[in-house]
């Protein structure tokens, strides 16, 4: 079962993401799937539900571009702190560009829902959320929590339902052509989220030989048997970071908050950075080489151990 799954982002999104589907996007700080989200916007997909532990400006862009009807997440901030992002606000408060359902989960609720999906079981128990409106509220919008009585202790405990997205996309440090994908540094919800998905697209900063994968197999977060497409997409996580590759573009993120506050500025931003470019390479051209040079990570090569026997 040795297959070359290399694809462009355009082909991969075209083939594996469809209107009305539930889409998981990976990355909690490290490896946020920005490039994939931009291609989804360019292909003008409709009525998606997107899920991810923290939505941030990734979800804000999808909302502003009108491709999503529902977000399942625990927060959707602007870069400068716990303030709602502007497109989220416009959609929720004014229905611009469309009415949006914000299926708000607590961070650990959504993590355990991904974990249930990962484990192939219908629910997971958690001790938080009881007594809050987070427990009850999502009932009006889809997902909901419930309580069961523990047959061993007799106590009542919350359970949250499995999430198994139709398709998931992650941006990782490296992968081989068959889709064995490795990520290091912070993982957040990415490993469990992506393995809960029915179809999987891996976007990687580098494509490496399988021999490199096998040098530290603990870094693999999803393996080839589950992966449908592999995209070589350097800088695909910008303006987020990728450990060992590039740092967060703080200036760009700050400017995003400034440049999307008004709807007409957002429309300009959308065209400049997403719909007005053909692919990630053109986006990087606008960003410019100086910026890339500035963001590029320094070397801190470490973590080797003896695997001998």
């Amino acid at each position: 079962m040795s297959t070359d799954k290399i694809s462009t982002m355009r082909e991969a999104i075209k083939k594996f993401v469809h209107n009305n589907e539930l889409v998981f996007l990976g990355g909690f700080g490290n490896g946020i799937a920005f490039s994939a989200a931009h291609e989804i916007i360019r292909q003008d997909l409709k009525s998606l539900t997107v899920c991810k532990c923290g939505g941030g400006i990734l979800f804000d862009q999808l909302i502003g571009a009108g491709v999503v009807d529902q977000i399942i997440t625990s927060h959707c901030w602007n870069p400068h702190g716990p303030q709602p992002a502007w497109n989220l606000k416009r959609a929720m408060e004014e229905g611009i560009p469309n009415n949006l359902i914000y299926n708000e989960q607590s961070l650990f609720m959504i993590n355990m829902s991904f974990y249930a999906g990962y484990m192939g079981v219908p629910f997971m128990p958690i001790r938080s959320i009881v007594g809050t409106d987070i427990f009850d509220n999502p009932k009006e919008v889809g997902l909901k929590a419930a309580k069961v009585e523990c047959p061993f202790t007799g106590e009542e405990i919350c359970v949250v339902p499995a999430i198994n997205p139709d398709v998931g996309i992650i941006q990782v440090q490296r992968a081989d052509i068959e889709g064995n994908a490795q990520m290091w540094g912070l993982i957040g919800d990415t490993k469990f989220g992506i393995n809960a998905c029915k179809r999987i697209i891996v976007a990687a900063e580098e494509i490496v030989d399988k021999a490199v994968i096998m040098e530290s197999p603990e870094r693999t977060i999803v393996s080839s048997n589950k992966v449908d497409a592999v995209v070589h997409e350097p800088w695909g996580g910008h303006p987020g970071y990728m450990q060992g590759y590039y740092y967060t573009d703080l200036e760009y993120r700050f400017n995003y908050a400034k440049e999307t506050k008004e709807i007409r500025d957002w429309n300009k931003w959308l065209e400049k950075w997403i719909t007005g470019v053909n692919d990630r390479q053109e986006y990087l051209n606008i960003l410019g080489e100086d910026k890339l040079r500035k963001l590029k990570a320094k070397n801190l090569i470490q973590g080797a151990v003896n695997y001998g026997y």
Partner: protein, 278 residues
């Protein structure tokens, strides 16, 4: 924590006083959940000031117990500089497990709006599906508030719009409806809000009713001012304690921390906020 009497600072803001006052609540053997926003700055200060080996946990899935030695201040609790300065890196569920096993002794949290039972709302003002004002969402605050042994709220704006009788939406569980309602809901016995720290004061919670009351005043604040700025009929301790001003050392670390945070856009410069507020 003993403060050296001779070295108090004269000029400082209420925001600085809030951070310093929060920092003084930490004990050397605390296992601290290190949350985004002001809590992160408090923990950073505590490591530099008193407890270089404070054991701290972040929701993305890492644990640290060394003073941070990065060349830049983290821009967020997910900054890659944190990774090679951590003793453990896993995933978010690893961090949850520490909370859920009851091993977090102390957590700080910020929230948008708080009520008299120490519940927080960062979700919505108005109806959930058609909000008047949509707030960003709570993130991990729900479980941090639910499962840490001691929870300390940090509210940077002590006003009646932020301190209300009743919330439109409970995102973060405090004492719910007061009395034993939190325990009845199923949260651990040794958990729940311990204090609310603001630029003006420290509130604590009545052991029976679980309602917040004024316990101690920051310098220059008055009981009347605190009552005026609180959106419910705030109860006052029989003997309201006075809080010492920041020492020179505390304020130095506090300002250094804030400067580093501004350099990393963790805190915005005041002149930037005009672009960002609506």
């Amino acid at each position: 924590m003993v403060i050296e009497e001779e070295n108090y600072c004269k000029e400082y803001t209420g925001f600085e006083m809030m951070l310093v006052s929060a920092c003084r609540q930490i004990r050397h053997d605390d296992v601290v959940f290190n949350a985004f926003h002001w809590p992160f700055l408090v923990v950073h200060m505590a490591k530099l000031l008193r407890f270089p080996n404070l054991f701290t946990v972040m929701e993305v899935g890492l644990s640290q117990n060394e003073v941070p030695k990065p060349d830049k201040m983290p821009y967020s609790i997910v900054d890659p500089v944190l990774v090679p300065n951590s003793v453990f890196v896993g995933d978010s569920i690893d961090a949850l497990s520490i909370l859920q096993r009851g091993e977090i002794t102390l957590a700080f949290l910020s929230t948008s709006i708080i009520d008299k039972y120490g519940n927080g709302n960062t979700t919505v003002i108005g109806p959930y599906k058609k909000p008047i004002y949509r707030l960003p969402g709570g993130g991990g605050a729900t479980e941090i508030a639910g499962l840490a042994n001691r929870l300390i709220w940090l509210l940077d704006d002590h006003s009646k719009y932020r301190f209300v009788e009743k919330l439109d939406f409970i995102t973060d569980p405090g004492y719910l409806n007061g009395y034993d309602s939190r325990i009845k809901a199923g949260y651990p016995l040794n958990s729940g809000p311990e204090a609310i720290i603001t630029p003006l004061c420290i509130m604590r919670f009545d052991p029976f009713t679980k309602e917040a009351y004024l316990d101690a005043l920051h310098p220059n604040a008055t009981i009347e001012q605190v009552k005026e700025e609180t959106g419910w009929n705030l109860k006052i301790a029989d003997e309201v304690r006075d809080i010492k001003p920041p020492t020179m050392r505390e304020i130095e670390i506090c300002r250094k921390t804030m400067k580093d945070a501004i350099d990393q856009y963790y805190i915005l410069k005041p002149e930037w906020t005009k672009y960002l507020e609506k």
